[in-house]
Amino acid sequence: MTLGVVLMCHTALDRAAQVARHWAMHGCPVVIHLDRRVPEAEESALVTALADQPDIRFSRRTACEWGTFALVQATIDACEKMLAEFPQVGHVFLASGSCLPIRPVGALQEHLAQNPDTDFIESVTTADVGWTVGGLSTERFTLRFPFSWRRQRRLFDGYVALQRLLRFRRRIPEGLTPHLGSQWWCLTRRSLQAILTHPQRPRYDRYFKRVWIPDESYFQSLVRQVSTRIESRSLTLSKFDYMGRPHVFYDDHLHLLRQADAFVARKIWPQADLLYQTFLTPDGDRAPRPDPNPGKINRLFAKAVERRLKGRPGLFMQSRFPSRGRGGNRLAGPYGVMHGFAELFGDFQPWLARAVDARVHGRLFAEDRVHFAGDEPVFKGGLSDSAALRDYNPRSFLASLIWNTRGETQCFQFGPEDDQTILPFLTGDPNATIFVITGAFAVPLWRSGKSAADVRPWAARLQKIEADFLELLGKPDTKARVRIWSLAEFVENPAEPLQQLVDDLNPRAPHRDGDLPELVNLVGFGSFLQELRNQGMQPVLMGDFPSDDQLAQPEQAFSRPQIVR
């Protein structure tokens, strides 16, 4: 027994002819169905080109509009011709003109010879099928589809909606269980004959004429009535995008296709010279095939769907610009915002870099310029330290910074002196962790040596800005992780919040006992706050800061010897 191939052709007929010849030369009779809509001139060219091959025949031509029964009718006609004219055919393989055998024809023949009674056809009940796109799976069998999906989309959709509204349901012929599957199958002569001569066939045909995309269900359902042995998988590799449109294989897929375990692949781009040249090499002359790795193909295509639908989080570019609810407020990786720490510790940045193994920047949003780690004038990716460039689009600036440093945690200092435009974005980003010591802005003012009277207006202004910031952090739509300590709380025992900070930013960081940054000496700060009060300002954000006397008492002091080096 041999293998017969039914080729459904409508475009790229020169390629179809090449493939038909390849099948025929390896002893497989071919019946070509040519779409009625192909011009006569092209048909006669094809017929002439294949005239020297006695085992290539042509079946009655039907115009095959996608999604209609015409495609099934054309297949039936071609199969009938195949069974009638080639009695030696034991299996019939349904392929299209853009299918390409990617393994030696001999291997396929051998595989079928070993399974002479097996029908290779994907056939799955509608409840179990996961790949139908557009919501029409069971409804393919229970609604009517008189309108063309391609040409009359509105009528099509409207009529579906109307039938749903009216709860219209067609009756499925008794004894028939709808199954779906790839339209590319390989059936035994026995099963195919049984389907084509089934006593109920006129009834089934009448039913399937109003089913949506019957080429994915006609044979798939009927084979269940007649077959003794079904292997529910297609021998043809075909991949679909997320909207159910077939992927095309190009020359650069050569290596991938060589690793497939399917025997035929579709669709092949007609101009993929390398693929045609490689896979249409006669069986004897072929290079040995690498080990099959179909999982790799599946992974690659699954990744493409993910790239198209989800994209790369935190990337904002010419063809990905998500709106706020769709990831427009999420940067590429976790990062830390330190508010009020640099004011309290002389060596905070180097300490933090050591402790959490991160890139620690200075004030990225300072008014004069961007203070990158190491005071670089240009940072990774070409980010400039120009404040004007940054402020022109602070979101893009920060998004680029985090994107450019994927794989490395970024931290930066922030305070009420800085440009605040970025804040709503920061607080809305689930990747941000914001650590705040409230009221720390007053420490540098105090250490500047200026009198409370001189700095009072500036202090009041900073306090107002910081209060607005805290209010923003408290809003319910804040997505960032937030930790807040008042200055008084913090200085009481700095080791604990610092440890928390390290744990939050890098849970796997090794604990380094005793390695803590040096807290500035705050003796005298309490009096400064009192001075501010005396000048008429109300410094509230610092918390209940201890007076100098309390600070001086060792048993209440925050600066226990094991904490400060």
Partner: protein, 295 residues
């Protein structure tokens, strides 16, 4: 597959420009020559697949050449995929070496898309811009092999629904204090043309506005490309002096005087953070362009 361009004195770039896009599958070029003086005309006339129109009228008054090209597109572009480029732009896109433009446009057709975005990427040399020697047949990218990988500003312009992308080397070096004036980098150079369409502002945006939506707003990525910008070839300093005198550029002339002066002073655009170009897969990995769902 048609390619429209408008140029003036680009004999140094043209041979490679034509061969690059010819290899991508451009079937015919339709060019407008705006008073070249360096043999560009003779060069174009000797090419069998170039149709040439000539004018000495004002480039600026013709909306920077767009009026001329719009007419050609209306007459000859209808129904075709049309690529509209400057002579200093080289289009690359995912898999461009193995999948010529007809493969890309067939994929776009299947996705129901009529336009394709490709951002301009300023390519620059490792030293002063006037250094080096690049012949007309040479691949300019072997000399201009550096670019800025991640300093672009993106915002939506609601009126035309296009993204407005600025940044890159020119913004960093020439517009650090006036970033709003930095050149626009987003482009939509590849469109399945209809006679009713028109580019509005170079190829940065076009009408109808839906064609500008070459980006996904749901979080996913659409397929996009890159226009490798070969502006910074060694002739740039002389050219800038000439352009400054001609005053046929966007916006008002005084705005651009400082920019041209900086260019004439032979700047170095390269920094330690510059990235060396290795190919489209690198641009894709850096997130400058995307293969989208095309595999």
């Amino acid at each position: 597959m048609l390619c429209f361009f408008c140029l003036r004195s680009e004999a140094g770039r043209l041979p490679h420009f034509l061969s690059h896009h010819r290899a991508l599958g451009v079937r015919h070029f339709l060019g407008v020559d705006n008073g070249s003086t360096d043999g560009t005309e003779a060069l174009l006339r000797s090419e069998p697949d170039v149709s040439l129109w000539q004018t000495r009228a004002s480039y600026k008054a013709a909306r920077f050449g767009m009026d001329w090209l719009t007419w050609l597109q209306m007459r000859h572009g209808h129904g075709h995929w049309c690529l509209t480029l400057d002579a200093d732009e080289l289009l690359v896109y995912p898999y461009w070496q193995t999948r010529p433009l007809p493969a890309l446009t067939e994929w776009l057709d299947r996705q129901g898309r009529q336009s394709f975005g490709a951002m301009t990427l300023d390519m620059y040399p490792g030293g002063p811009v006037s250094d080096g020697n690049v012949g007309p047949q040479d691949d300019p990218i072997s000399h201009l092999c550096w670019f800025d990988a991640g300093n672009y500003q993106v915002q939506v312009q609601p009126r035309m629904r296009n993204l407005w992308i600025q940044g890159g080397a020119r913004a960093r070096v020439f517009f650090a204090e006036t970033p709003r004036k930095a050149p626009t980098l987003n482009k939509t150079p590849l469109v399945r043309w209809h006679w009713r369409y028109a580019y509005v502002n170079s190829t940065h945006s076009l009408l109808p506005a839906r064609l500008n939506q070459v980006y996904d707003t749901e979080g996913g990525e659409l397929t996009s490309g890159i226009l490798l910008h070969t502006k910074f070839l060694p002739g740039i300093t002389d050219r800038s002096a000439e352009e400054k005198l001609r005053g046929e550029h966007f916006g008002n002339a005084s705005q651009y005087a400082a920019y041209y002066d900086r260019l004439i002073s032979d700047p170095v655009l390269h920094t330690a953070t510059s990235t060396r170009y290795t190919g489209w897969r690198q641009l894709e990995a850096l997130g400058l362009m995307s293969r989208g769902g095309w595999i």
